[in-house]
Amino acid sequence: MNLGQLRNNDALREKLASEYVFGTLRGGARRRFEEWLKEDAALRRSVAEWQDRLYPMAEFAPVALPSPQVWQAIEKQLNLQGAAPRSGRRSFWLGLREDLAFWRGLGMASTTVAAILATVLLTRQFEPFVPAATYVATLADDKAQPTMVITGDAKRRQLTVKVIAQPAVAADKSLELWAIPKDGTPRSLGLVAAGDTVTLPLPENTTPENTPVLAISLEPKGGSPNPNAPTGPVLYKGAWVEI
């Protein structure tokens, strides 16, 4: 048998690919198959398909957890010490950063922002004394319902948070606004009162460039006890842009 014959024989190709992945193709036959693999893309695809079919069988093993020393050994071997450990609390931020769908979704969010921008600009023509908005954002809940509009003034270094939908917040809870960088720790921007318009100071060097996402988390009354991370769930989030 040679590769040419194999190319014309689907059944044989599938059979060999399955036994190769499964492990029962042995010795000379296995080595010859590996040579063919280098030359034949269709064969490589068959192998990948068989791997995707059979390898979930690995999940049928009884549940077991490795000891924490394994990660420490990996870290040591690869010299990764100092890599920020991700505790459970921070995994949301990490998830958000690594979530391609979310970052792609920012594109869609920008469309909403553009609509708001148009409104802001129109309003400005008629009211020339309205302070200049340099930044604008809409924050939406997990069903993409807009709940808050935020405008920022770079000169005066302030943010105005206007609540569109009235979130129900228990008396012992507060809503906290965060600026989230692509890397590093989130920055708290202050507390937002439910059902009210609030003006917050905008810290120096906090811009859509370095912290592209704004988010609201539900915190104990008075805000997160940790200044570098929310402790409660994130209720609303969205991108902000410079206009």
Binding site: P56, M57, A64, S67, D99
Partner: protein, 194 residues
């Protein structure tokens, strides 16, 4: 299955970040997958310290070769399982002592679900949608055929070794495994089409 696809996309993005030497993403990848991969290696090797050695070697390999995943055609979890399976079998071959093989390869709960005539136990298992689909198709095979497949897959046994283990003629085992794999393929493609 949407959640499965999302999970896969998540692992894919973690692998891409790992390829850019993002240690935080690598740690997340470890946290998301190490338990499953460790359980698999442990089931084959039966000794925690060996399975942990394999897990360590595998993740070092994943860190060093994450960029080559880009060209891989398989799902991210498949790619990582391949690495762990190869490392496990490499270690197995280096060991002088033969590792004890018992007949119950799979987790008890999984075995019971596979043998049940009722589809609910499979749905209730804590595993990915891909694994559940495979379980549904494996449950349609005869018990002995399934056992032959489990032995070969988990213990790197050849046809003749499976035959010896099951005290059956090699020709019989060979036929069962070949037909079994073909049936799995047909069954899975039917489920995908559904």
């Amino acid at each position: 299955m949407a959640t499965d696809d999302q999970h896969s996309a998540h692992l894919r993005s973690l692998l891409a970040a790992t390829a850019r030497k993002d240690a935080g993403a690598f740690r997340s990848l470890y946290e998301a997958t190490s338990a499953k991969l460790f359980a698999f290696a442990l089931r084959i090797l039966n000794k925690r310290e060996l399975a942990e050695e394999v897990l360590q070697e595998s993740f070092v390999n994943i860190w060093n070769n994450a960029s080559s995943y880009q060209s891989s055609l398989a799902a991210p979890m498949t790619w990582m399982t391949t690495i762990v399976r190869n490392k496990t079998f490499d270690l197995l071959r280096r060991l002088d002592d033969a590792v004890e093989i018992d007949a119950d390869t799979f987790d008890k709960e999984v075995m019971n679900a596979l043998e049940s005539t009722n589809p609910t136990p499979i749905e209730a298992l804590q595993m990915s949608g891909d694994a559940k689909a495979l379980a549904r198709c494996l449950s349609k095979l005869e018990g002995l055929h399934r056992q032959a497949i489990a032995l070969a897959f988990y213990h790197d046994l050849s046809h003749s070794e499976v035959a010896e283990q099951m005290k059956l003629p090699m020709g019989t085992v060979k036929t069962w495994i070949r037909r079994g794999l073909e049936r799995l393929r047909l069954c899975l493609s039917k489920l995908e089409g559904a």
